[in-house]
Symmetry: C2
Subunit: 461 residues, 2 copies
């Protein structure tokens, strides 16, 4: 024992380091205890999903979500200021319930498919469109088939790869046709596009999501159909030519004003070093956006709430940002970057939660190479504190809403929850409160708060 003390007498900094690590472990334990017993995230998510509902940018529900989250953040006394940051957003409306059906199968007659118009899609006109279907396995086939697409409805039937353990990787590889299929096919005279829903599940649930038109071609209507119906359509096409009827009255209305919701605790020692936590407040209209991204919003609000409950006074500025219009325009993110860069702000770190409210497995970290290489080592030093809660740290993208902050030369983090169930619900009518687990949600907020605590206490050096 004496020798032990002598050791620390000779190397007092080690003793301090050890004390400090104990203190950190103790504080992080308190964060988790508090999140799991006094957390508010689930109650807030209940309100966002059950009382407000789907929150597509420009909708009355999106306005309600802005008002509700601002009011909640206003009740947190630790917050120095809460404000709304305006941005103009696209205002797309789905209109009447879409129709999509096979109209001429000799074997099976007329078959209604489970379909949804893709977000931003133009409508078909009140009479709908009917055309022969041509099946493609990927975006690359469009140009090779060229003229054969003329007058056709192009059906992209590329499945998500179920063998990818990270379902976001499979999503990234399969999302091309949903995003670019309509504009690419229109170049060759296609009259409509149908994509296979982006999920590894075989079921009857269609998944919407945004499609993007370029400026060169006339927009054509785009739908998603369920994976079961994609399989059915593909089988039918092997036997006979198939004609589809599609009808949607969706349309893009004039842009409207909306807002990011921002709450900030001013740092006591380094107010100019900002640590941002955020998610996006808008969601698709068909469900109630519980995982995407109600969870990320209440995670971020909970960070502020937990800091308050634990009487922690941050040295750096902690800012919670609930972004508007991530789903079909990213206008909130862009408005924020422009404003922040204009003020020459410095985000030491930004953490986005936009991968659902499942059990957190850690964080992905992003940044310019030199920044990443400089600071990643330090973040890794915190791992023992985080691993006790099942959290790992790896290089990887952060989140769309904060991606523009990379220019500010700080680190960008993405909360990384277990991804196995995410694409069962993503952009569907079943992304609701009942598929979010309260404990899993609370653990996500605790994970983010723990990282914020370490970033705030130690900074990045």
């Amino acid at each position: 024992m004496r020798r032990f003390l002598l050791f620390f007498f000779l190397f007092p900094s080690l003793l301090l380091a050890q004390d400090s690590q104990k203190e950190d472990a103790f504080f992080i334990r308190q964060i988790y205890d508090e999140a799991l017993t006094e957390g508010k995230s689930y109650d807030w998510l209940n309100y966002l999903t059950q009382r407000i509902g789907g929150r597509l940018a420009g909708s009355p529900q999106a306005a309600a979500a802005v008002e509700y989250t601002k009011q909640v953040l206003d009740t947190l006394s630790i917050v120095d200021s809460v404000w709304l940051q305006p941005c103009m957003v696209p205002h797309w409306v789905r209109g009447e319930k879409e129709q999509i059906r096979v109209v001429n199968s000799l074997k099976m007659g007329t078959i209604s498919l489970n379909g949804l118009a893709l977000g931003n899609s133009v409508g078909t006109g009140a009479n709908g469109i009917t055309a022969e279907v041509i099946e493609l396995s990927d975006l690359e086939e469009v140009d090779s088939l060229g003229p054969q697409l003329n007058g056709k409805i192009v059906f992209f039937n590329n499945p998500m790869d179920p063998t990818q353990l990270n379902t976001f990787s499979a999503y990234g590889k399969a999302a091309g046709p949903r995003v670019w299929g309509a504009s690419r096919a229109a170049k060759h005279g296609a009259v409509g596009v149908v994509v296979r829903s982006l999920t590894t599940r075989q079921d009857d649930i269609p998944h919407t999501g945004s499609t993007v038109y370029d400026n060169e071609t006339t927009p054509i209507p785009a739908f998603a159909i369920s994976t079961n119906d994609a399989e059915l359509l593909s089988r039918l096409l092997q036997e006979e030519p198939i004609r589809l009827f599609m009808r949607s009255t969706c349309e893009m209305l004039p842009e409207v004003e909306s807002f990011n919701v921002i709450a900030e605790i001013k740092g006591s020692d380094y107010p100019d070093e900002i640590i941002l936590v955020g998610g996006h407040l808008d969601s698709w209209d068909v469900g109630t956006g519980a995982h995407d991204d109600g969870s990320g919003c209440v995670h971020s609000m909970e960070v502020i709430h937990l800091i308050q409950r634990l009487n922690y006074r941050p040295k750096r500025t902690i800012r919670c940002v609930l972004f508007m219009n991530e789903e079909n325009g990213l206008r909130g993110g862009r408005a924020y970057w422009k404003w922040s860069n204009g003020k020459k702000e410095f985000h030491l770190a930004a953490i986005e939660s936009d991968r659902g409210g499942f059990t957190p497995k850690g964080f992905t970290v992003d940044g310019h190479d030199d920044i990443f290489n400089k600071y990643f080592k330090q973040v890794i030093e915190w791992l023992p504190l985080l691993e006790a809660y099942g959290l790992a740290i790896r290089k990887g993208g952060s989140g769309a809403d904060i991606s523009g902050l990379k220019e500010q030369q700080g680190l960008l983090f993405g909360l990384e929850p277990d991804s196995q169930r995410y694409f069962d619900y993503h952009h569907t009518p079943i992304d609701g409160l009942d598929v979010v687990n309260k404990r899993e949600l609370e653990l996500g907020a605790a994970a983010m708060t723990s990282l914020v605590y370490l970033l705030d206490k130690y900074g990045l050096k």
Copy 2:
């Protein structure tokens, strides 16, 4: 490059080790690919839960589950033998729907509670019982209150600790009153026992589970009530004396014969070294035992199926055992141990899956100290292969059905899935197929198969 080759020329064993690790990584990748694309576990679980249902030992459904799983295992051509191993099991029946209600609240009148008789409980008699309630916070209070319990219904209101990240730890610490409460309270003349359901969720769902009577006292009826009702009852008791009416017609019938279902692939090189994979086939009657433990059964069957699909010929004997009566007697486990020990068998390893069908996080490992210390190092060497799939290995208990195999001086493993949701469903009417995610289930089977592959290929040295 030349220097690199020279290095391996001088140390060829390193080259071999590297080759071997590549081969292992490749094979494990194939296991996962196969499980996620050609796995049968979810289909089998569908049959067990939707077609057969709750499978309490002694019930017709338990017999159907024995027959069904035997038939499935018989279809797997790689299996050398499938057999039923008899065991006598308790035959407890729940009888008519239980009733439990507050009968005298001045403020609220009569209040029906959400309750279930605990498994093995005696009934109340056709007229039910009515008595005053006394609330206790834990088993330890029983003896200190002693005579005050006479003629009372004892209400154990000890919640599971929500701050434990591993919910099984919280369960273990809170389960005492459910298991021993009735016999302990009966010693002091209590006429009935009510326990708070074992879950961290606040809801209206009662959780059953076994209670154990000693031989010294006359058994008294025991119920579980939902956590919401436990809170309600506790609040009422703070205001006024409360009397409860309890009625159940459950009873223990004479023992009946049932079976473990066993399938075996004889090892080519070391047939006497057995690697067991297993789960338990029985479940509580109130739900359909999807997580507990239909998942563990189909995980274990899938191990055999994947080995077959990959044309892997095991060097050691791989044995799949579906145990009977884990929930309220462990008779299947005991029969198996007795039979296996009698034959002087050696289980090199046994892996039980009895913690649900959620995303696997790794394995717990158990064994006699000397065995554990001898072999754990080797198991840890496989970690890099398993970590790629999010799997860790830590010291910890394995599973009730294989616990008796510890005497055979091999290693015991428990599959460890994410535990956050397990006690939302455990022993309830809502433990059904709809709360099992297909991918998560498949990943559990792949994890077990990967460990079996490594154990089979390398043994334990």
